[in-house]
């Protein structure tokens, strides 16, 4: 038998032996499982990165966010507006060097459409400590239908490099539980 360094002589297109055939078939079957899981999760799963996707002019998106803030503002937190949109509302979150605006106050178990976009460069939406991640690209509006499934005080960490102050780009989302009655306050900590 020859090694991989040597030229095979004659015709090398020969039938494979049993062990190889078996492994190729097993591996192929597993690949089909891997593939089937993704469409299946679109049908049955509750976490998909589909969303509604538009091109948007960054300054137009900033105006829409400001309008959203003006409409539903309920307070201030560390220099950021705190906004509490009604159930089912379109929620606008703007990433810019180096902040997320505004601070959002949401309700547990309520559906919203969360829009993400950027005013300048790429940013990364990382909801902490839940660990949900989405790319925020300037010129594109990513509208994700979200349902917060837990109450608490969450952070939005920027996880795409966006310049020298990238590491201070942290936003906030507060989720209150209406059934529990005791909601966290929106004040600075």
């Amino acid at each position: 038998m020859h090694t991989g360094m040597e030229s095979p002589r004659g015709v090398w297109w020969k039938p494979a032996h049993k062990a190889e055939k078996m492994w190729v078939l097993i591996a192929f079957a597993w690949c089909m499982v891997l593939f089937a899981m993704m469409p299946l999760w679109h049908l049955k799963g509750a976490q998909n990165p589909s969303g509604i996707r538009y091109r948007v002019d960054p300054s137009a998106y900033a105006r829409r966010t400001n309008e959203f803030i003006r409409q539903y503002k309920v307070g201030e937190d560390g220099g950021f507006a705190v906004v509490e949109p009604p159930p089912g509302a379109d929620v606008y979150l703007l990433g810019r060097m180096w902040a997320w605006e505004p601070v959002l106050k949401l309700h547990k178990g309520v559906a919203y459409t969360l829009h993400l976009s950027s005013l300048d460069v790429n940013h990364g939406f990382n909801l902490s400590p839940v660990n949900l991640n989405f790319q925020v690209v300037p010129g594109y509006d990513y509208g994700l239908r979200i349902v917060p499934t837990e109450a608490g005080d969450f952070r939005i960490v920027c996880n795409e490099f966006c310049g020298i102050q990238h590491h201070v780009m942290v936003g906030r989302i507060i989720v209150v539980d209406d059934s529990a009655g005791a909601a966290p306050t929106g004040g600075a900590q």
């Binding site: 799963g45 976490q47 790319q135």
Partner: protein
């Protein structure tokens, strides 16, 4: 431009020596080009390695070495020096080896080959200059509209053009060898694999041209580049270039298997078809970086991220079987027939080429492969994108897999091509153990830290200056600490590699005048595969039993794969609903 071989002048192309160990006819030009590219690769590795330690000691918050601006600058240098310069210079050497040396041929156009080498050096120097002087603090990906100095993009373009010409010379050399009948039969499997790497390189560098030329013009203010289009085309270069590595690395697995223990090719059809699957499907993996991007539809994401229904994953799983199975069969045919694993137990573990091969296969498959396919699943990417899980994955593939395989083959390149003894042989023998052990610890704990959402590419994960405090699970500190220990261990292993190679090449003891018998009598400095070259073996009837140990190993692999994959679906199912 090099497809038609011109008759080379005798002074340039026709000088050969016969290798006393392998019997191969080695062309002087090919030898010189391999040496030059290997030296450039090692210099790049040194820069990449020093910057790796600086990045690591900054991310380890206990030390937090660099200020923010230098952290991002050094991280840019680390990414470019390792992923582009080190890897591609080394792959250029692999292309010359797999064409001219393995086929006993001359190099198609040696003058152009040297010109493209110096073009690549010029490009690399330009890029390094821009990065170190703070004019390209844009990280490896340089996502538009982050802007670097135009000369940075120009440097990348020059480097890529040089590499593209070398792939052309590789194809030209295949034609020369065929026409001049320097070999009989088909090209060896290693050359075939290298040819697929070269084809993928052409696809990759085409994407590179398609994105860096417009970006260069954009940096001069001459045109616009859409940020989402940039991300898609750039990853056609950024991810696909790592697929050149995969094809080159797998070729080196076959080569090291042959050199160290005389691994056989069980079935050429299976192995070569798997390489063809790489060519056809692997470039689609650019989608892995775009799964949670706004500009692309779910259907596009699902189809592309799966490389058209995981056919490139199938290729890797096939090689993951045929490489160890060929090793096992070779050993069994040479008498190591007891039980399931005598062939592995009695293998030359003191040969750094062999240990590097085994660890490269294991780390690439178990750590890099499983995490890569899992994180590259459209929905699971929601809990992985841009966290430390991603560099945790690709340090297992590119460093623990590709770089370690490259290190392993170096212990053969030094005596066979440079014709020097490997210096500090005792250190060289433990080097793959240190490097593999360190990278394993590093990758595992980096990936685990990422599971808690810790971001990659971040100067301060304590968020001391941020408007809102961020608290991670306390386990994160422990994991980052262990990651740092693993990283430092790997850095020691990398340092030993550089010490051994540089010392051997520049100050090492020459073995050029020794006969093969004299080489085999050397007490140290030459790997076992050269001291006792594996004897040829006859074919065997019953292949099924020849690879039964490997069947057990791949079964363990499949179980680990299935477990990790479905654990991640479980982790995903408990986060907020999103769609």
């Amino acid at each position: 431009m090099t497809a038609v071989p011109a008759p080379a002048p005798a002074s340039l192309g026709a000088l050969f020596r016969i290798c006393s160990t392998t019997g191969l006819k080695i062309n002087a030009q090919a030898e010189g080009l391999i040496k030059a590219n290997a030296v450039a690769a090692t210099v790049s590795l040194l820069i990449g390695g020093i910057t790796a330690v600086l990045v690591l000691l900054t991310r380890w918050q206990v030390v937090h070495l660099l200020p923010a601006d230098w952290f991002y600058r050094i991280l840019t240098v680390h990414g470019m020096s390792m992923l582009i310069f080190f890897i591609l210079f080394f792959e250029m050497a692999v292309l010359y080896f797999a064409s001219a040396v393995l086929l006993n041929s001359r190099v198609a156009t040696p003058r152009l080959a040297w010109a493209s080498f110096w073009l690549m050096v010029a490009g690399a120097v330009l890029v390094e200059w821009m990065m170190w002087t703070g004019r390209a603090d844009v990280l490896f990906t340089s996502y538009v509209p982050l802007r670097a100095h135009p000369l940075y993009y120009l440097g990348v373009i020059l480097f890529a053009v040089g590499a593209l010409i070398v792939t052309g010379i590789f194809f030209g050399t295949l034609v020369v060898a065929k026409r001049e009948r320097t070999y009989q039969g088909s090209v060896p499997l290693v050359t075939y694999g290298a040819a697929t790497a070269a084809i993928i390189a052409v696809i990759t560098l085409g994407h590179g041209a398609a994105i860096y030329i417009p970006t260069f013009l954009w940096s001069l203010g001459l045109m616009n580049v859409d940020p989402q289009v940039y991300r898609m085309v750039w990853w056609g270069l950024g991810h696909a270039s790592q697929q050149i590595n995969v094809a080159a690395m797998v070729s080196i697995w076959y080569l090291l298997g042959a050199l160290t223990i005389g691994a056989v090719v069980l079935n050429e059809k299976i192995s070569r078809t798997a390489f063809v699957l790489y060519v056809l499907f692997i470039s689609m993996a650019a989608a892995h970086h775009l799964l949670v991007d706004p500009g692309l539809s779910p259907a596009w994401k699902v189809w592309n991220t799966s490389y058209a229904m995981y056919l490139a994953v199938l290729a890797s799983m096939v090689h993951g079987f045929t490489v160890p199975a060929g090793m096992e069969a070779g050993q069994r045919l040479r008498g190591y027939t007891k039980g399931l694993f005598e062939w592995l137990r009695k293998a030359p573990w003191g040969d750094p080429g062999f240990s590097a091969l085994v660890f490269s296969v294991i780390i690439f498959g178990f750590l890099g492969g499983i995490t890569g396919v899992t994180f590259g699943t459209e929905q699971i990417n929601i809990i992985a994108h841009n966290t430390l899980r991603i560099p945790g994955h690709f340090h297992a593939t590119v460093v623990g897999g590709t770089a370690l395989a490259f290190m392993g083959i170096t212990y053969y390149v030094i005596p066979l091509i440079f014709r020097k003894k490997v210096a500090f042989w005792g250190l060289a023998k433990i080097q793959p153990y240190l490097f593999a052990g360190g990278m394993t610890i590093f990758s595992i704990f980096m990936t685990f830290a990422g599971t808690f959402g810790v971001p990659r590419r971040h100067w301060d994960a304590t968020f001391a200056q941020a408007p809102f405090s961020v608290q991670y699970n306390p386990a994160v500190d422990l994991m980052v600490g262990l990651m740092a220990i693993g990283g430092l261990l790997a850095a020691v292993g990398g340092g030993i590699y550089i010490l051994c190679t540089v010392w051997s090449v520049f100050f090492g003891e020459s073995i050029a005048s020794l006969s093969s018998a004299e080489i085999r009598a050397l007490p140290a400095g030459v790997p076992a595969g050269m001291l006792r070259p594996p004897a040829p073996v006859a074919d065997a009837k019953d292949h099924g039993t020849l690879s039964r140990g490997t069947l057990v190993l791949v079964a363990v692999f499949l179980i680990a794969f299935i477990a990790y994959y479905f654990v991640n679906w479980k982790l995903l199912s408990v986060v907020w609903k999103v769609g």
